[in-house]
């Protein structure tokens, strides 16, 4: 086919858009999203196809042989312009077409931390905005339609995700990704016509729906309507790298963002073949907070007199080696964490077996199953050639989940299951009783059976028997067919349940009828089963594979990220020791030193040991017993590989710097090995994990491709049903999601809240004082606190002392509660009789956000004022005032004072859009003339403050004086203008960062230029009113941005509104 005169090859079924994209031809689109079917809603992708009268949408029109397509011509572009303008009429567009766009962007480098997004500068989508891209492509400078701002309330009540549907353009990407791809369906379109919007059923917060907080909607949203709380204020990163998520055994590809070596965000990687741009709550929203957990172990230390004393690595390594040398090798046991990288596991194996000389390496109890699984594959199939892949899920006809609940343990697999279901696969769940599957897993099922353990075994024995009896044994050379037959004949097992009977009858039929039958078994470990039970069950499943000649696939859903890799590196061709055996030896006193790379939290056991070395990332109950603590790294701070449940080796890249003095596991083992033995013939001086991997692939025979093809030496597993199937019943829940034993939710407050909220364990916190006697009861009651226009709040407080002394240009300092920051706000009005004061403030950061949440009737913890140097006013003649944002409120008292003194007063009110004006009536009745200017021309003059000043100067004879209040950028522009217009005396009210407001901290200092010399003034006591022509604005703007980075990063730790008044029942534990 031909697109834009280029001949392009295409594959069957592709749309024009997909073909063009591959050929790197840009076609604008907003509703198209990779992974979803074409939707054809935004119509921006309309193209001309020869032979067709109408323009056709590229996203839904399939490519055809001989098609000739034009993506861009005047007619199409004009149509697109009209279309985007219509779309923009419902999306605040002032910044997109602002004449000052470039200057503004170079000066205002940081994000405005506003609540409501009304322009690009408060939009978390700014850096990567599809709308901006389209506007540049279509060269749009003017929008003829007035903005129809819907004024929906901000939705901030949920954890992790924030919503501002005022930005929504109804592309439907979020709805479709949630419904079609994820199969959740938490959101949909509601209402019709002009009132159409995206919402949950009954407009409930996400937390009260079945939303899984996977973040797919956020990542699909082309505007800032949906944003991650984590990056709402924090879109700046210094580095981004691809890597693999190590929290479960899927191994999703992620892009990891970091700011100066600190992990800041994680977004699923579109390029990853495993998860194709999708993720889950843990990987998407919890990674950075977990990794940056405050209590991370940072310094190696040793125990002395019951206290842990930090020390340097050299010292600790020699102390550790000394301890290791005290005991005979067989008295030393090492617990390998299933979260080690393959490289670290390989080095641990080498260090333990060849340097220390102990064979007592073991895995945590819960991971014992990996050995059973591998032994079965080894004995009955061919481990290395037994291929399994998550893609099999999508292509399966029949899927059996056994003891598996992917929503809880492997959330992203729900996508694959959902796809299979859409293709018509039957999905059933065989599950052990007492445990209720989570809702989203249940939704996928055709049926589920809650069975007793014995029943499942019997069902599979029966299935085995049936197939066995129905195949032609001559076709297979089974080593022990006779033995199996004998066992079957003796076992006399018959399924007792009708449902199971139906199940295997159905399966038998499918196997007979369908030539290319694809069966899949997902084996999960949502609760602990006894080894004997797992052995039998897995054995029967392996038989199923053999008997059906590979028509069934088996994928184990491990609960730890790299259990397969660690197992292969420690036990391939080595003797396996189970945790039970090791624990027995500890009980009997045979093992005296335990080296832990993952906690065991069995204090009884730990007390029996002489020495404990703990290599961990977070403190645990084990810490107390540790003689030596070796702080190590997470998968985000180390490089190497992980092996997932498909047995694929995936690359881990270092994305963040290690915390404190912590070191990667392999490095710690290498250091110990060096010190343990001086003249080492074994290599331990690796400079990076790549070198280790090289050696690992060479030396570990597991990784050698086996040359002998899987010969037909299959034999059948013969169950032993006499064994005891009893096991502990610890159920795996979202709470159990852990890394190196540390539950993720321990470190991520919102995750903890979410889980507890949904399990209804939350209690209303009892509001009360901490009983601190001296804190006198605050007397600053909030009488009114409402958002009057987007992001601008009006606050009225009872404060009689301040009302009695207030003057124009004065400010107050407010603390909402004991933990708040002290923030200065300019006084806008006061009433002596009623003892009230009024301020207008803009929500633009942590503290104003907190203030915005305050309710009427609440008491503020501290209000101090009136502060600031008094300004002298008199009859100056004609005075020009200018206000923007909160400054509209702040110039009001100046206007009133000037009118009292009989000045002619002209006021310019400036904003992005007319919706942002307030107090218009009051100004219009008070002063002689009000001039409006907006950056999109929606009211008054189109332009910024300087344009409006020119207009006023042209119209007036003289202007004797000016006062401007607004953001620093606006005041700078205004001052520059009045200076160039004949040096009209100009005063501005600076809003700086201060603490005390009384001249004590010096944080608010301002550099003035007077007669060429720089002088320093304090905004709090020498100001806040200064001559605008003397201020060094660039310095001031930089000073005001000096806490932006820390503040941005802090936003994610703000608990969501729905949860902030709740607390956990077991918080004291």
């Amino acid at each position: 086919m031909i697109i834009d005169n280029k001949e392009i090859e295409f594959s069957e079924g592709a749309t024009i858009l997909e073909v063009a994209k591959k050929a790197e031809i840009y076609i604008p689109t907003l509703c198209y999203f990779e992974g979803l079917e074409g939707y054809g809603a935004c119509r921006l992708c309309l193209c001309k196809v020869e032979g067709s009268k109408k323009l056709l949408p590229a996203c839904t029109t399939p490519a055809n042989e001989g098609m000739v397509v034009t993506t861009k011509n005047d007619e199409i572009q004009q149509l697109r312009r009209e279309l985007i303008k219509l779309i923009l009429s419902e999306h605040p567009y002032s910044c997109l077409i602002c004449e000052n766009k470039e200057k503004c962007e170079t000066l205002r480098t940081s994000l405005d931390k506003a609540g409501r997004i009304f322009g690009c500068f408060s939009c978390p989508n700014k850096e990567d905005c599809e709308i901006r891209k389209i506007i540049d492509y279509l060269e749009i400078e003017k929008v003829d339609y007035q903005l129809s701002y819907k004024n929906y309330p901000l939705q901030r009540e949920d954890p992790f995700i924030e919503k501002d549907y005022n930005l929504c353009i109804l592309c439907g990407r979020c709805v479709r990704v949630c419904n079609e791809l994820r199969g959740i369906g938490a959101i949909n379109f509601s209402d019709r016509g002009h009132d159409t919007k995206v919402s949950t059923a009954f407009e409930l917060p996400y937390i009260d729906t079945n939303c899984q907080f996977c973040g797919a909607c956020v990542d699909a949203c082309p505007t800032g309507a949906l944003s991650s709380k984590k990056t709402k204020w924090n879109i700046h990163y210094t580095d981004v790298k691809n890597s693999t998520c190590g929290f479960c055994s899927i191994g999703c590809g992620f892009k990891y963002f970091s700011v100066n070596g600190n992990l800041s965000d994680s977004i699923p990687d579109n390029e990853s073949p495993i998860n194709k741009g999708q993720g889950c709550l843990i990987g998407r929203f919890c990674t950075s907070e977990f990794n940056n957990g405050k209590s991370r172990l940072k310094f190696p230390s040793f125990k002395s007199n019951y206290k842990h004393i930090p020390s340097g690595w050299d010292d600790i390594v020699s102390k550790t080696v000394k301890k290791l040398k005290i005991f005979r090798p067989e008295e030393i046991a090492i617990l390998a964490s299933p979260n080690l990288t393959n490289e670290s596991a390989f080095i641990l194996n080498k260090f333990a077996r060849q340097i220390i000389g102990t064979n007592k390496l073991f895995l945590p109890i819960k991971e014992n199953k990996v050995n059973i699984f591998y032994n079965l594959l080894n004995d009955y199939l061919d481990t290395k050639n037994y291929k399994r892949s998550f893609e099999d899920i999508e292509n399966s006809d029949y899927i059996i989940l056994i003891n598996a609940d992917p929503q809880i343990t492997h959330p992203t697999l729900l996508i694959n299951l959902n796809k299979a279901k859409k293709r018509g696969a039957k999905i059933i769940s065989l599950n052990l009783s007492k445990y209720n599957l989570s809702l989203e897993t249940q939704k996928l099922l055709d049926f589920k059976l809650n069975l007793k353990r014995q029943d499942i075994i019997e069902a599979f024995v029966a299935l085995n028997m049936n197939i066995f009896n129905n195949i032609n044994l001559q076709e297979k050379s089974l080593e022990n067919a006779e033995g199996f037959e004998t066992w079957i004949n003796n076992s006399n097992i018959q399924s007792k349940s009708d449902e199971l009977e139906n199940l295997y009858k159905e399966l038998m039929n499918l196997l007979k009828q369908k030539e290319n039958f694809n069966g899949l078994i997902l084996f999960g470990f949502i609760n602990h089963l006894s080894d004997a039970y797992i052995q039998n069950l897995l054995g029967l499943l392996v038989n199923l594979i053999i008997l059906t000649n590979n028509k069934f696939h088996l994928i184990p859903l491990w609960n730890s990220g790299n259990i397969e890799g660690v197992y292969q590196n420690l036990f391939y061709n080595n003797q396996y020791k189970s945790a039970y055996e090791i624990f027995n030896e500890i009980e009997n006193g045979k093992i005296k030193l335990l080296y832990l790379t993952e906690r065991i939290e069995n204090t009884g056991l730990l007390e029996k040991l002489d020495t404990i070395i703990l290599q961990d990332i977070f403190p645990s109950k084990d810490l107390k017993y540790a003689d030596i603590i070796l702080p190590t790294c997470t998968f985000l701070e180390d490089s190497g590989t992980y092996t997932n449940s498909e047995s694929k080796m995936l690359m881990i890249n270092k994305n963040a710097k290690s915390k404190g003095d912590s070191m990667p596991d392999w490095k710690i083992f290498c250091e110990l090995a060096h010190t343990y033995r001086d003249n080492n013939s074994l290599k331990f001086d690796y400079s990076n994990p790549d070198e280790i991997r090289h050696e690992m692939l060479r030396d570990n025979s597991y990784y050698k491709t086996s040359d002998k093809k899987s010969e037909c030496k299959y034999k059948l597993f013969i169950p032993n049903l006499d064994e005891n199937f009893k096991s502990s019943f610890e159920i795996y829940t979202q709470k159990s999601f852990n890394f190196r034993g540390e539950p993720i939710y321990n470190q991520v407050a919102d995750l903890k809240n979410l889980i507890e909220y949904r399990t209804e364990k939350l209690k209303q916190i009892k509001k009360g004082d901490n009983g601190n006697e001296d804190v006198s009861k605050p007397q600053f009651k909030i009488l009114y606190n409402e958002e009057i226009v987007p992001n601008i709040y009006k606050l009225i407080i009872k404060a009689p002392f301040i009302a009695a002394k207030a003057k124009p240009c004065n400010f107050i300092i407010i603390m909402k509660n004991e933990k708040s920051e002290r923030i200065p706000l300019t006084l806008s009005d006061w009433n002596q009789e009623q003892g009230t004061i009024t301020v207008y403030y803009q929500e633009k950061g942590l503290s104003t956000l907190e203030l915005a949440k305050a309710n009427e009737g609440e008491e503020l913890f501290s209000v101090v004022g009136p502060l600031g140097k008094d300004v002298e006013f008199s009859n100056f003649g004609t005075v020009l005032l200018g206000g923007g944002c909160y400054g509209i409120g702040s110039i009001y008292p100046i206007a009133r004072k000037l009118k009292e003194l009989r000045n002619r007063v002209i006021v310019i009110l400036e904003s992005k859009n007319k919706l942002l004006f307030y107090l218009e009536k009051k100004f219009e009745t008070l002063v002689d003339k009000v001039v409006y200017c907006t950056s999109d021309g929606s009211k008054g003059i189109k332009g910024k403050i300087e344009t409006a000043i020119s207009h006023v100067i042209e119209a007036e004879e003289t202007i004797d004086r000016c006062y401007f209040i607004g953001c620093n950028y606006m005041m700078m522009e205004a001052s520059e203008k009045t200076q160039s217009e004949g040096n009209i005396p100009t005063f501005v009210n600076l809003s700086t960062i201060m603490i005390d407001g009384t001249g004590m901290c010096g944080g608010c200092r301002v550099t003035l230029l007077k007669e060429g010399a720089e002088i320093t003034k304090f905004a709090c006591v020498d100001g806040p009113t200064f001559n605008g022509h003397n201020i060094k604005w660039d310095l001031l703007i930089k000073r005001n941005a000096r806490f932006d980075v820390v503040e941005e990063q802090s936003y994610q730790t703000q608990s969501c509104k729905a949860l902030e008044n709740l607390h956990l029942e077991d918080e004291n534990e």
Partner: protein, 470 residues
């Protein structure tokens, strides 16, 4: 055993050191560095006191605590009684035991110190105050009948709190006006948690409140209320103890660069606003990896050690004189050095140099030598020509002292000030206005908490006398 023998034994027994947190550990946390005496160590140390007939230690104490008497009570294991003994003269023993420069005061005068080591009076004072607090065995002095006379105290720092403590006992109606939302003045915003836990300041303020002292927070006198307003409200005497809060600058180029901060700002964020608990507390602290602190006083040591605790890799103190002239308390210098603070002595900054973002990048400094003694008797530092060099820094903290803040004094022109803007008083804290008294740093300039308390004690006497005669 004869008395003589016992005395000899005492002389020979060494001073009992106070247990400290290990330097490597403590430099990463905000817990108190000194762990305090245990009962047995306290008793052992108390035994060393000779109970002199003419105790010189009392003379060394600005508030004249009966030191031998309280030490005797420790010997008798009457620890709470010992605390009450101190409280007869000093309302804030938990604070003074921690931050007084004892080496120049009580302990400097101790007879034992002439040949051997002085008794650790400070440590003992702290011990009994902590003991009393932990046992919650406060003895609240009987509330005296109010005499109906109202006294306003401006500032709740050490001077103000002492005046309040003394006058409340005499039956006056006391109201303290505090500009901040928390009491304690420099004790709350200046001195770090690891040196003086804020809990202790709070407890000692609570002790005054229990006795009937009223504290009004959030009141910036001079702005929200004037001296005349106070008179109108019925206050018959006013004590000004507002400290010397205005930070001094070096007056060299680049001082307004980002990340060049005053010690006042740096410490206030961390101490008063709990910034080290950011973002639980909403005030951010200013972090730096490579920190330079300019100055050699206690505030410089506090800033340097705070920077270390906030995660700095390297902290350097730049001071223009030599080690012997460091004005900081000996114990603080010793603690700072143990924790790994680098001392770059006989150097003085000449220029701050920033990068493109307007942040500090390096400091140009010049080498100094000691010249002739100046009027204060200290050797005058003199720059060595052409000896400039650069030190890299990503945070500079200026801790070269503070001066009087004119916010209040400028609103009342009748009040007589010194040339440098401090309030002029006689030695009893009387100003030129009969009903106004002042004491502490606003009179003397930056000094110690205990001398402010001494001034408060004197002023309390003068106020009492004035109101009696009225």
């Amino acid at each position: 055993m004869s008395n003589n023998l016992e005395k000899k034994k005492k002389l020979k027994s060494p001073r009992n050191e106070i247990p400290e947190q290990d330097p490597t550990l403590r430099s990463k946390n905000f817990n108190e560095v000194n762990l305090g005496y245990t009962v047995s160590i306290a008793k052992k140390e108390a035994e060393r006191c000779l109970q002199c007939a003419k105790p010189l230690c009392i003379e060394g104490c600005p508030v004249e605590v009966d030191i031998p008497a309280f030490i005797k009570l420790i010997q008798e294991e009457k620890f709470c009684e010992a605390a009450w003994k101190i409280k007869e003269k000093n309302a804030l023993p938990g604070i003074c035991g921690r931050i007084c420069p004892q080496e120049n005061q009580c302990e400097g005068n101790c007879v034992l110190g002439k040949k051997f080591e002085p008794v650790a009076i400070g440590h003992l004072e702290r011990f009994v105050a902590d003991y009393e607090r932990e046992e919650s065995n406060f003895q609240i002095p009987e509330k005296k009948k109010r005499n109906g006379k109202k006294v306003a105290i401006i500032g709740s720092g050490p001077a103000g709190l002492t005046v309040a403590g003394d006058l409340i006992k005499l039956g006056y109606d006391i109201t303290i006006f505090e500009a901040f939302h928390k009491g304690g003045g420099v004790l709350a915003y200046g001195i770090p948690e690891f040196r003086l836990p804020k809990k202790i300041v709070q407890e000692e303020i609570n002790y005054l409140i229990k006795q009937g002292v009223k504290i009004n927070y959030n009141m910036v006198i001079g702005k929200v209320l004037t001296f005349d307003d106070l008179l109108d409200m019925g206050f018959e005497a006013i004590f000004i103890g507002i400290g010397a809060g205005l930070p001094q600058f070096l007056g060299i180029p680049g001082e307004n660069l980002n990340r060049v901060v005053t010690a006042n700002e740096y410490l206030t964020r961390v101490n008063l606003m709990n910034a080290y608990n950011f973002p639980d507390y909403k005030t951010p602290f200013i972090s730096g990896n490579n920190v330079i602190v300019i100055g050699g006083g206690n505030v410089a040591m506090d800033s340097a050690r705070t920077a270390l605790r906030l995660g700095a890799d390297k902290v350097t103190i730049v001071y223009r004189r030599a080690m012997e002239q460091l004005p900081a308390r000996k114990e603080e210098v010793h603690h700072a050095r143990d924790e790994g603070i680098i001392f770059n002595l006989l150097t003085n900054p000449t220029k701050f140099i920033g990068n493109e973002e307007g942040n500090i990048e390096k400091v140009e400094v010049i080498k100094m030598r000691l010249g002739e003694p100046d009027s204060s008797g200290r050797a005058q530092p003199v720059p060595i020509k052409d000896s400039e060099f650069f030190i890299d820094a990503d945070l500079v903290i200026i801790a070269i002292g503070t001066t009087a803040n004119p916010l209040l004094t400028s609103t009342y022109k009748k009040l007589q000030l010194t040339e440098r803007g401090y309030i002029a008083t006689d030695k009893f804290g009387r100003t030129n206005i009969t009903h106004i008294f002042a004491g502490g740093d606003i009179v003397t300039g930056g000094s110690t908490a205990i001398s402010a308390m001494g001034a408060g004690r004197g002023a309390a006497k003068a106020i009492h006398q004035y109101l009696q005669e009225l």
